[in-house]
């Protein structure tokens, strides 16, 4: 009269094992679900009943209690449907208890008994340990990425019942109609190439430095200067994800409800949320399962915020902590989750509302409008950008016949080499160098030091900016094939690529 079935739920980007305990006894017929189910979970009652009847099995006319343990964890979503259905049928004696031993079930049921995939297959299956996992056909590939036990997939509840009662074998998952092409560790086809950018050598260089050192980059320029064009070429420069990041990114993508078309994510993800995005959508949280936000979705990759100044100030300021720590802690009354959020932030904005302010003496914005526009970006946020660059409209001559720059693969090779140097220092990229590591690895030579001292003395550089300048100088030197020392050229370049911001009054 009792059965226990294993399943799991997703909270944030992590799966949590859940035991579905079913008790069937005499009394007024009915089904009660306890153990903090949320609305979508409580609806399972009606789906499960319909699916069981559609599978040509009589619904036990008895009192059924379903408990989702641990009962303190709030359960959201429909992934427990399958476990509840099998639990009910096992507890009522339709299936032998031995049939479900060592089994874990994840899937949503349709009223006709179809087993549907649920978002977050990767973290869900990851939480189930070495048990045999049963999922919908569509989830089989995702589940296989992380499963430590066998993965079985089925199409309908009826089919599953037949397998469990020994009337047939496990079905094999049908091959996906069009097998997704896996760009093997290479660049995606159709990614725009850096050589398409005419002229703008400084901007191209800034992209390379940002990619190599993981330095956040702010592009400021009038409309038509090619800010978005430049940012579009950034992903191609980033190296493939390392194994650990790749698993994290895959898990996040799955938790966010996206199907993984081809195994683990190897290339860095790119997210470009629109400026109407809310703080919750950007940071994560919101629903009961605390879905990861855009920043987490870009974990290990690129977060591109176009029209940065159009984002509401509250949304931008919510970015400050994740940018610094690489992780987001979302807390709600009952629970809290940690969402990974290590991103390379590339942002673009106009210098002023009319877009022309870049060149001194050109803008025609009223002072008040300008002041309001500049207040939108807080100093602390601007300070997070190691590279701040003015981008200009290329001159006509350059557009038509300007020299084509290096190809993406050439630059990407240098970036990869620089990242390898950084890895030898024990960090993923130079932006992560701190304190003693910075002292050890990023001390400029005497001439470079003189230059920094002069810049500090004249107020060109603030003490706060010094650390960031040193990291960037480190990256530039690495790219130049000089991992041992940092010269004046490197320091000067780092200084000039971090122009004084327009708001907040934070000096370089």
């Amino acid at each position: 009269m009792f059965a226990r079935i294993h399943s799991s739920i997703v909270l944030g980007v992590d799966g949590h094992p859940v035991s579905v305990e079913v008790h069937v006894h005499n009394g007024l017929p009915g089904l009660t679900i306890v153990g903090l189910p949320d609305a979508s979970c409580r609806e399972a009652r009606d789906r499960v009943r319909a699916a069981v009847i559609a599978s040509k099995v009589t619904w036990p006319p008895r009192r059924i209690t379903v408990n989702l343990a641990p009962s303190l964890l709030r359960k959201a979503g429909s992934g427990l449907d399958l476990a509840i259905a099998i639990g009910v049928l096992t507890a009522s004696g339709h299936l032998p208890g031995s049939a479900v031993e060592g089994l874990a079930l994840v899937g949503e049921l349709g009223l006709d008994g179809t087993v549907r995939p649920v978002p977050g297959t990767v973290p869900l299956v990851d939480a189930l340990g070495t048990r045999t996992v049963v999922v919908a056909h569509e989830s089989a590939a995702d589940a296989a990425l992380v499963a430590r036990g066998t993965v079985r997939s089925i199409a309908t509840l009826e089919e599953l019942l037949a397998v469990l009662s020994g009337r047939r074998d496990w079905p094999t998952a049908p091959e996906p109609a069009a097998p997704p092409e896996r760009p093997e560790a290479g660049r995606e086809a159709g990614t725009p190439d850096l050589s398409e950018v005419r002229g703008q050598p400084v901007a191209r260089r800034a992209l390379e430095i940002a990619a190599a050192g993981g330095h956040h980059l702010l592009l400021v320029g009038p409309p038509g200067a090619g800010k978005t064009m430049l940012a579009d070429r950034m992903p191609g420069l980033l190296p493939d994800l390392d194994r650990e990041t790749s698993i994290e990114a895959t898990r996040i993508r799955s938790a966010a409800g996206q199907r993984l078309t081809g195994g683990l994510l190897r290339r860095p993800p790119i997210r470009a949320p629109h400026h109407t995005t809310t703080a919750v959508a950007l940071i994560g949280g919101g629903t009961d399962s605390l879905r990861p936000g855009e920043v987490s979705m870009a974990h290990g990759g690129l977060l591109f915020l176009d029209e940065l100044a159009e984002f509401p100030a509250a949304v931008l300021d919510a970015l400050r902590q994740p940018l610094e720590e690489g992780i987001i802690r979302v807390s709600r009354a009952r629970f809290q989750v940690e969402l990974p959020a290590r991103v390379l932030l590339v942002a673009a904005m106009n210098p002023c509302p009319c877009g022309e302010a870049a060149r001194p003496g050109t803008c025609s914005c009223p002072a008040g409008v300008l002041a309001r526009y500049r207040r939108r970006l807080s100093g602390p946020l601007l300070d997070r950008f190691d590279l701040r660059l003015e981008v200009l409209r290329p001159e006509t001559g350059e557009l038509l016949g300007g020299d084509r720059g290096e190809r993406t693969e050439t630059v990407a090779a240098r970036v990869a080499a620089a990242r390898e140097i950084a890895a030898r220092r024990g960090v993923r990229c130079n932006a992560e160098l701190t304190g003693t590591e910075l002292e050890r690895w990023a001390t400029p030579d005497d001439a470079g030091r003189d230059l920094l001292e002069a810049a500090l003395r004249t107020g060109r550089l603030s003490a706060r900016g010094l650390t960031r300048i040193r990291r960037v100088a480190r990256t530039i030197a690495d790219l130049d094939g000089s991992p041992a020392h940092i010269g004046t050229g490197h320091v000067a370049m780092a200084l000039q690529l971090r122009s004084e911001p327009r708001a907040g009054g934070v000096a370089a």
Partner: protein, 420 residues
């Protein structure tokens, strides 16, 4: 202005002054209507008519005020105002209330085609009748523009000429900064060591708001200093913030109070152009500082020169154009004689030597106007890192100044470029 024969004028009546202020406080009565009321039936009669809602007896109001809710609001406002209290407040803190065609009104405004019926003054009203030149320009300037404005303000004041301006950001503020610098230096002079200076020119600030309001707020200190060291005037009653239409009205007052107008930097359209129109309409000498042909910040001034404005390279050109004899400077110069001259202490000689090589090439490019790193790298034939290092060094020693990633010539850079 010196030759102007000042007729004996009647003293302004208390009731008249109070009624003028009250009328000026009413939305819908602009400077022209106010003057018309003042010169026809008189302000007290106009105020009384408004309060009784019988405008028939006061022609300017009867002609201009139509019926409806606007009129109702004006009547309601007029009834709510307490003219005596207004007058008292406008005379507090040493402020003065001057009335057109009455004793104490600046002679320079008496012959103006559109004088303010009532003028609020903070500071010394006698300064309004001293010779003054208006120095105005755009709010969004280049660095050199600001330096030229400050230099012209400095030099005009040093030669005993007042400087009229609108206390706006950019050129206006820089011009008055230059004037105040002369005054500060004169204060610091030691008479015991024989450093006695004749009186320098003073700042004359014209604002579009009430005298108690600072717009832009960033110039609150400047506005206080101008009132303290010179004179601050407005035709707007206390407590009123500037509307859009107040600025052209303010510009007309700047033109009315000056003998000549110098535009330092202006784009093709902008507030300075309305000042130019007012000045030209009054037959003032309009002068403009030329700029690089490609610089948008100087497009307006260059056009003015094409249209016949006098080209101003330095203060001598202003004196020459106005037909004034250049008097002995009241205060010895702290600056170089060139508008782009170096800092104090670098007087005499040909200025600093031009830096050689790449630095020189960079300065040469910047001589054509502000440039970004991208542009500099494109125009100077050198690797990016070397251009960057050169720029840092030029910044550190003051040849080049950077704002928001844009590089401009600093005072020393301009001097060095000039010495080439």
């Amino acid at each position: 202005m010196n030759g102007l024969r000042v007729p004996t004028l009647p003293e302004p009546g208390e009731e008249e002054s109070a009624a003028l202020i009250a009328l000026a406080c009413i939305d819908g009565i602009g400077p022209a209507t106010l003057l018309d009321c003042h010169r026809s039936e008189g302000a007290p009669a106009a105020l009384e008519a408004l309060r009784r809602d019988r405008l028939g007896g006061v022609r300017p109001l009867a002609e201009r005020v139509v019926g409806g809710s606007v009129r109702a609001t004006m009547v309601r406002t007029a009834r709510a105002l307490d003219p005596e209290d207004l007058l008292r407040r406008h005379r507090s803190h040493g402020r003065r209330v001057l009335v057109a065609d009455r004793a104490g009104y600046p002679a320079v405004l008496l012959e103006d085609p559109a004088p303010p019926a009532v003028l609020f003054v903070d500071g010394d009203p006698a300064l309004l009748d001293e010779p003054a030149v208006a120095v105005v320009g755009t709010r969004n300037t280049t660095r050199i523009g600001r330096e030229i404005a400050a230099h012209l303000g400095h030099e005009l004041a040093r030669h005993g000429v007042g400087v009229t301006s609108g206390l706006a950001l950019g050129i206006d503020g820089a011009a008055h900064d230059g004037v105040l610098e002369v005054l500060d230096r004169r204060d610091a002079a030691d008479p015991d060591r024989g450093e006695v200076f004749p009186p320098p020119g003073r700042p004359i600030g014209v604002v579009a708001s009430g005298l108690d309001i600072s717009y832009p707020r960033r110039h609150a200190t400047l506005q206080r200093r101008v009132a303290h060291r010179g004179v601050l005037v407005s035709e707007v009653p206390l407590g009123i913030r500037p509307n859009r239409w107040r600025f052209p009205a303010r510009n007309r007052l700047i033109a009315a109070l000056s003998a000549g107008l110098v535009v330092v930097e202006s784009r093709l359209v902008g507030g300075s152009m309305s000042t130019v129109e007012e000045a030209a309409g009054r037959g003032l000498e309009v002068m403009a500082v030329p700029g690089h042909p490609l610089s948008p910040a100087s497009a307006g001034t260059n056009q003015l020169i094409v249209d016949g404005a006098t080209l101003v390279r330095d203060v001598d050109d202003i004196f020459f154009a106005l037909g004034w004899e250049q008097p002995d400077p009241a205060v010895p110069s702290a600056r170089e004689e060139r508008p782009d001259g170096g800092d104090a202490g670098e007087r005499g000689g040909a200025g600093p030597a031009p830096p050689p090589g790449l630095a020189g090439a960079v300065l040469q490019v910047l001589g054509g106007g502000p440039a970004s790193l991208e542009e500099l790298v494109g125009r100077v034939d050198a690797p990016m890192a070397e251009v960057a290092s050169t720029l840092v060094r030029l910044e550190v020693d003051g040849h080049v100044v950077t704002t928001h990633g844009w590089f401009e010539l600093g005072a020393r850079g301009a001097a060095a470029l000039g010495a080439r």
